[in-house]
């Protein structure tokens, strides 16, 4: 049995963030599939014992049980990325990465909600959620446009970090909820770079080019 277990729902973008990092770090891990839709298994007693909030992702590493995407990503980086690539040691870059991690949780929340509405709802996507998602993508595109002027290819520093990994799924999946990539040229180039990283892995909605 693998040391690390991810309580996982394949279509959930937050679980995908953790799967991405587990895979890109080359760790041995196993998914424990949770029937989130329609079963709401994450809100049933066995899962509530692991995370009383009733949300995924939840991860077990030996005796340690953690929940919350940011915590899982930060833990994995600290525990298994000895080179400090994903979570930089430099204080300023660490701060910048944390800023974008926070952005991915707070400011991309509308994008996450919009996608859930589009995939599982019956009444379509609320316009304010779409508008808020687009505003967040614009902020990201403006940032990457300026990074381009200083030959920066990633959100922070001179290599990929958790900032890129946490931001990637929302934009890559935006067509799921009706936001096209046309007007975000800097983000288009950035996701191409991200897709080309070693051990990159896809999820439903992020095509694997045959």
């Amino acid at each position: 049995m693998a040391a690390i277990t991810l309580y996982d729902y394949e279509l959930d973008e937050h679980c995908y963030r953790v799967r991405l990092l587990l895979t890109m770090l080359g760790l041995e891990w196993a998914p424990h599939a949770i029937d989130m839709v329609p079963g709401e298994e994450e809100k049933q007693p066995p899962m509530l014992a692991l995370n009383p909030l009733g949300r995924l992702p939840v991860m077990r590493d030996g005796d340690l049980v953690l929940h919350g995407t940011e915590a899982l990503l930060a833990y994995l980086a600290r525990a298994y990325d000895g080179a400090n690539t994903w979570l930089p040691k430099d204080a300023a870059d660490f701060g910048r990465v944390m800023m974008w991690l926070n952005f991915s949780t707070l400011d991309l929340q509308p994008a996450s909600q919009a996608r859930v509405q589009a995939l599982f709802g019956t009444t379509g996507v609320d316009a304010p959620l779409k508008e808020a998602s687009r505003n967040a993508f614009r902020i990201m595109d403006d940032h990457m446009t300026k990074r381009g002027y200083e030959h920066g290819e990633w959100f922070v520093g001179d290599h990929v970090t958790l900032a890129d990994l946490a931001l990637f799924p929302s934009f890559a999946l935006s067509r799921d909820f009706g936001i096209d990539h046309d007007e975000f040229p800097a983000l288009r180039r950035w996701i191409r770079r991200f897709r080309n990283l070693e051990n990159f892995t896809t999820m439903p909605g992020i095509p694997d080019y045959h």
Binding site: A118, A127, K130, E131, R134, D142, T145, K146, Y149, E150, R175, D176, F177, G178, I179, D180, H181, D182, E183, P185, A186, R188, R189, R192, P207, Y209, H210
Partner: protein, 245 residues
């Protein structure tokens, strides 16, 4: 609508890398802009003849672009050459994506959205350009023009100069402050949205880095003020409906 054949900007050259594709909308018409691995840019109707999927969702392999849906591959003439589900099939000549006249000049990719090539050249040929950015604004082109006609663009090389606006064509504007000039390709997306493809008409040695950041920040401010002042705020959502497989 742009009735006679004119060159319309659809992307900055630097935004479409070799082997990449992107969607663009001109007056409501969907266009795929892509660059083959030899570096040549193409603009086509953004529609796979098979099931109508947007080709811009697809991917480029060498000098072919493939539809994401079923992998049908088209050569640079728009001719379907390969259908994965029928690998031995000699694909009929009738399976073809409409291709448009496409040209690159001044750091911008232009298309006519037809096979026709206009009599007039792309105005304002410049020797040296520095890529700046594309700016998507929820505002009709006419209102953006009105704002730019009286705009004051802070110079990078020197300040304290007047700004001159000029329209070289409906789709090409310039803003000049002293030595500095922004060259702006105007792409009308729909009645309430416009894309500006902006380059600096000057050498990278002068403008790369700080100069680019200077003008990019000004453009962000311009976008904010235009959208805050736009008569019909982005209620008519500029997003397209997701294509569902």
């Amino acid at each position: 609508m742009t009735a006679p054949t004119v060159w319309i900007p659809v992307a900055l050259s630097s935004e479409i890398e070799a082997g990449a594709s992107a969607g663009a909308v001109v007056d409501g018409k969907e266009v795929v802009v892509w660059r083959d691995t030899s570096g040549k840019a193409h603009a086509w109707e953004d529609r796979c003849p098979h099931r109508g999927m947007r080709m811009s969702f697809g991917f480029v392999r060498g000098d072919h672009i493939a539809c994401l849906y079923h992998g049908w591959q088209y050569d640079t003439a728009g001719q379907c050459q390969y259908i994965p589900a029928h690998p031995d099939l000699d694909v009929p000549q009738t399976i073809k994506v409409p291709t448009y006249a496409t040209k690159e000049a001044n750091g911008v990719i232009w298309s006519t959205l037809s096979e026709e090539v206009p009599d007039e050249a792309i105005p304002g040929e410049t020797d040296q350009v520095t890529a700046l950015r594309s700016l998507y604004i929820d505002c009709p082109a006419a209102l953006i023009r009105e704002a730019l006609e009286t705009a004051s663009l802070p110079g990078f090389s020197a300040s304290e100069e007047e700004t001159d606006f000029a329209a070289l064509a409906d789709t090409v504007w310039t803003l000049t402050t002293g030595e500095d000039q922004l060259y702006i390709g105007v792409q009308p997306v729909n009645p309430s949205q416009t894309a500006l493809h902006v380059v600096i008409a000057g050498p990278e040695a002068t403008y790369a880095g700080a100069g680019q950041a200077h003008f990019s920040t000004w453009l962000e401010t311009l976008r904010r003020s235009l959208e805050d002042g736009a008569p019909e705020k982005a209620a008519s959502a500029p997003m397209t409906t997701a294509e569902v497989a």
